[in-house]
């Protein structure tokens, strides 16, 4: 018969749970946390062996307590977890997470990717904004990340030059070299517009003809995409090799054409993001209304 002891501590709005499972004989146990979500201990970036969501499964050996610790933002409850016995221990099959735990995570450090762009001067950061650092490098506003992108680009460029040539001669490497001249990304839909503006920034934005600067930047990007499409059309419509060579020469050579292809791929992704964001905004705008009647009563 297995028994469960526990202790909960509340630290900085986080509940730390300590569990000890004891048994007189070896047996498998399942422990379900009553506090959710569970923040389990992690090894190499993945939850420690046995954790799956809010449930831990493992083996408690006779005479040796099985000790577990985890955290949760939820308030403490009594008991914090429920113990279920699952019978005699069995040999567990190796899982993909076991492989990561044993061999080590290969995720590049956050510093290796693009940093957060400034957020509308509000100084606030939302989880969405934090996630925005996970965007592909080419989806982050290049004006904020030029040096970092340059560093990343060198790596990709070296690799590309030394190890492979694209099948069709039109590489779509997202971090292809020489994109700085042709890339004119709009502000990423995920990295802007999601700030939590404070009262001051709301006031500033409403005072200063909202959207003018933003729409100007977006329009410039649309025009840049149209310009790139025009270049593609010229390259595609060349009727013979001499004409194609002339157009190619004018546009900066085959490397520029490769960069152009990479940029178009980036444009396509960027447009998908913009379209999704625009649709979402359209839905929100259709129901948005400033409660003027109420506001006028209280001022």
């Amino acid at each position: 018969m297995a028994s469960l002891d526990w202790r909960c501590r509340r630290v900085d709005e986080v509940t730390l749970v300590e569990l000890a499972v004891r048994s007189e004989f070896d047996q498998g146990v399942r422990i379900e946390s009553q506090l959710t979500p569970v923040w389990p201990p992690r090894r190499q970036g993945v939850p420690a062996a046995g954790w799956e969501g809010a449930t831990f499964e493992g083996v408690v050996e006779a005479g040796t307590p099985l000790v577990l610790g985890y955290a949760s933002p939820a308030e403490p409850v009594e008991p914090p977890a429920i113990l279920t016995q699952t019978g005699a221990p069995t040999d567990e099959a190796v899982t993909a997470r076991d492989v990561v735990r044993a061999l080590g995570d290969v995720t590049p450090p956050r510093d290796a990717t693009a940093p957060l762009p400034p957020q509308n001067g509000s100084g606030h950061t939302t989880p969405d904004q934090i996630n925005s650092t996970h965007l592909p490098v080419d989806q982050v506003d290049p004006t904020h990340t030029a040096s970092d992108r340059e560093n990343t680009t060198h790596t990709a460029s070296d690799r590309k030059n030394s190890t492979h040539t694209p099948t069709d001669g039109t590489g779509s490497d997202q971090t292809a070299p020489d994109q700085s001249e042709v890339l004119h990304h709009p502000p990423s839909p995920d990295t802007r517009s999601r700030g939590v503006p404070d009262a001051k920034s709301v006031s500033t934005e409403t005072d200063s003809d909202p959207g003018d600067a933003d729409s100007g930047e977006a329009l410039r990007w649309f025009e840049a995409v149209e310009g790139r499409l025009a270049s593609v059309e010229r390259l595609s419509s060349a009727s013979d090799a001499d004409e194609a060579r002339a157009v190619l020469e004018e546009l900066g050579g085959i490397e520029s054409a490769r960069s152009l292809q990479a940029t178009l791929e980036s444009d396509r992704r960027q447009l998908q993001e913009v379209r999704g964001r625009a649709e979402q905004l359209h839905v929100e705008l259709s129901t948005a209304e400033v409660p003027l009647a109420t506001l006028e009563r209280i001022v």
Binding site: A96, V99, A102, L103, V106, T107, P136, T165, S172, Q174
Partner: protein, 224 residues
């Protein structure tokens, strides 16, 4: 069948072997080198997108080139969003739909190399006739044993024309599997530059015949 092409050391020809074996077996080649992909990029979603849940495995498979390919993204940010453990299910999905998936594994012995092996039912161990490559091949062989992925064949790549093959027995003994040899050939390099399988570029070349022979042996060994 899910077949991983591994080798430990970088630059021994894993991607070349994966691409040519994929062509011969009419398989989908999955470029699982999350950080330093070598196989040609294609349009559309890539493995980073799939491992991050932004695309399904099948919509990321590109059939537009000479070999069906699930390409890998190139950005470090893409690697950060990817869940490497999802590779196992991705490869199984590709296998269910296309029959055979050939996984081009990354170099090294970290989890990305381990997961590529873990996702496979058998592996090809690529090495070259030089000391550093052979030492890494032994480590990769141990990794395959640790994740219980059987070794289908050893591929000794870029074998000099003058080689007499006298040390193949000791290689087979050290690595515990049968050896196939791919000759060092300008045709292979030319095919690689063109993004084509060797059999497409020069089907009568010794290298193309070596790849065909390797695949015949694979088909027999794995009952494909």
């Amino acid at each position: 069948m899910r077949l991983a092409v591994t080798g430990g050391k970088g630059g021994v020809g894993k991607s070349t072997v994966a691409y040519n074996v994929g062509a011969a077996l009419d398989a989908v080649v999955v470029d699982a080198d999350l950080g330093m992909a070598d196989l040609p990029p294609r349009r559309g979603p890539d493995l980073h997108d799939v491992l991050a849940g932004r695309a399904s495995p099948l919509e990321a498979v590109s059939e537009e080139g000479p070999v069906a390919l699930l390409p890998c993204g190139r950005s470090l940010a893409g690697v950060r969003t990817a869940d490497p453990t999802a590779l196992v299910d991705v490869v199984k999905t590709v296998e269910r739909h296309y029959g055979t998936a050939v996984i081009d594994s990354p170099a090294g012995l970290r989890c990305d190399a381990g997961l590529a092996l873990f996702a496979a039912e058998a592996c090809l161990l690529v090495t070259q006739p030089e000391r550093a490559a052979l030492a890494d091949a032994i480590r990769a062989r141990e990794l395959a044993r640790a994740v219980e992925t059987p070794l289908a064949r050893i591929v000794l790549n870029r074998v000099p024309v003058c080689s007499d093959g006298s040390r193949l027995d000791s290689l087979e003994t050290a690595l515990g599997g049968p050896v196939s040899q791919i000759p060092d050939s300008a045709v292979v390099r030319r095919a690689q530059r063109s993004g084509l399988p060797v059999r497409t570029l020069e089907p009568e070349s010794p290298a193309a015949e070596a790849f065909d022979s390797l695949c015949r042996e694979l088909v027999a060994a794995l009952a494909l």
